[in-house]
């Protein structure tokens, strides 16, 4: 009998068909048998799973998650602080801009350019007060008063960067006087002659 079975199986050892009465082999046979499936039912299950709404992800409370929450709070705090800082910095700059109608008007545009102190001097008899107005101080009558140093001489020292400036003196608040020692500006749009000052930076090429 064994020889017959061997012939039926082709001589390749144990096979479910060989010993159907063996319970273990029977179980193996059953388990190895392909499971019958309904293709349409399987597709329906997949589609149903897809249609289900996605539940929010629940983060379990653990040391690692609290660490990541701490990171996110740190980032939010940093961003909030930086926004507050930026607003404060902008306000500071704006306030500086508002007060920049004095000499700092030049400094606004030439932060890194070295400044040179230029002395404005006017000799004017019987003047009560003298100021200088020009493109370096926003033509502000109150920005740059000259100081009386004796006799009829008035002076003011103003830091300026290299460039070309136009200006004039204002005596007693209303009398416009060009600098007698400086060339005149050809552009006279308002009927009062301006003087020209050219400032050269030290070591300019």
């Amino acid at each position: 009998m064994d020889d017959d079975m061997m012939e039926e199986t082709g001589g390749h050892g144990v096979s479910p068909e060989v010993r159907p009465n063996d319970s273990v082999d029977l179980a193996i046979t059953i388990l190895r048998a392909p499971v019958p499936t309904d293709a349409r039912a399987f597709d329906a299950k997949v589609l149903q799973a897809i249609r289900q709404p996605v539940l929010p992800r629940v983060i379990p409370s653990s040391p690692a998650s609290s660490w990541s929450r701490a990171r996110s709070w740190t980032a939010i705090a940093a961003i909030a602080a930086s926004v507050v800082f930026a607003v404060a910095l902008n306000n500071l700059v704006e306030r500086h801009d508002d007060t920049a109608t004095r000499v700092s008007r030049v400094a606004q545009t030439t932060h890194s350019v070295p400044m040179q102190t230029v002395q404005f001097r006017l000799t004017y008899p019987n003047a009560q007060r003298v100021a200088v107005v020009g493109s370096f101080n926003g033509w502000d009558l109150s920005a740059t008063p000259l100081r009386h140093i004796g006799g009829d001489i008035w002076v003011a020292d103003i830091p300026l960067s290299a460039g070309r400036y136009v200006y004039q003196f204002v005596v007693d608040g209303h009398k416009r006087v060009p600098d007698p020692l400086a060339p005149n500006d050809p552009a006279d749009d308002f009927g009062a002659t301006n003087s020209v000052l050219t400032v050269v930076s030290r070591g300019a090429a």
Partner: protein, 226 residues
């Protein structure tokens, strides 16, 4: 765990520093993009004039021209008591002159150069002479040369002679050298010396290798690009 938390605290530092660096950059960009100096007009001129000047400034800025000279001209007019109509007219003319100056000097010219070029144009320098100067001195700022040129011409020096002298002195020395030359020529002219003679005399005193000045404009070192 302790190391992990320490690492967390340590990792937050560069994050905060980076955020503050970003904030500083943002603030600086905001400052840079703020209109050049239009805020200077607040309280100095009427609201109507401010709006009109701002409209011109916007157009000028769109063309890549500087706005600051327009603001300065407005403030000058207000300081001198000119009425709004006159100020606005001066601002319009200046805007047009800035365009002419930019066309003569090229798009790479600075605002200061354009302002000096406008003064030169108004003193009688042809725009072609400005173009020749730009191409004769391509690597130099023309602020001081144009300022000295304007002064020489206002004092009666013929344009070709003044332009040649300025270009020659700019090539042979620095701006200080040129300014001393201009001041000395002005002193000679003020004392009654004829402008050409004043240039020749100062040239001889300063030892520059240019011995004579003709009425021909300076030859450009290379042909100007359109």
């Amino acid at each position: 765990m302790r190391m992990l938390r320490a690492g967390c605290r340590f990792g937050a530092v560069p994050r905060i520093v980076g955020a503050f660096a970003f904030a500083i950059c943002a603030a600086r960009v905001g400052f840079a993009q703020r209109p050049a100096s239009m805020s200077q007009l607040d309280g100095r001129v009427s609201p109507t004039l401010r709006v009109q000047v701002a409209a011109i400034a916007d157009s000028v800025a769109a063309l890549g021209l500087p706005v600051a000279p327009l603001v300065d001209k407005t403030l000058e007019g207000a300081s001198k008591g000119a009425d709004d109509r006159r100020i606005l007219g001066a601002v319009r003319v200046l805007a047009a002159d800035l365009g002419v100056a930019r066309r003569a000097l090229g798009v790479s010219s600075s605002g200061e150069e354009l302002t000096a070029a406008v003064a030169a144009l108004r003193s009688g320098v042809p725009s072609s002479t400005l173009t020749d100067m730009r191409h004769s001195l391509p690597q130099r700022s023309l602020v001081v040369p144009l300022s000295v040129l304007s002064s020489l011409i206002i004092q009666g020096t013929p344009v070709p002679a003044a332009a040649m002298a300025v270009v020659t002195y700019t090539r042979h020395g620095d701006d200080s050298h040129l300014l001393v030359f201009g001041n000395e020529v002005a002193r000679y002219i003020a004392s009654g010396v004829a402008p050409i003679q004043a240039i020749t005399s100062v040239d001889a005193l300063m030892g520059t290798s240019v011995s004579s000045y003709s009425d021909h404009p300076p030859a450009p070192t290379r042909r100007p690009k359109p």
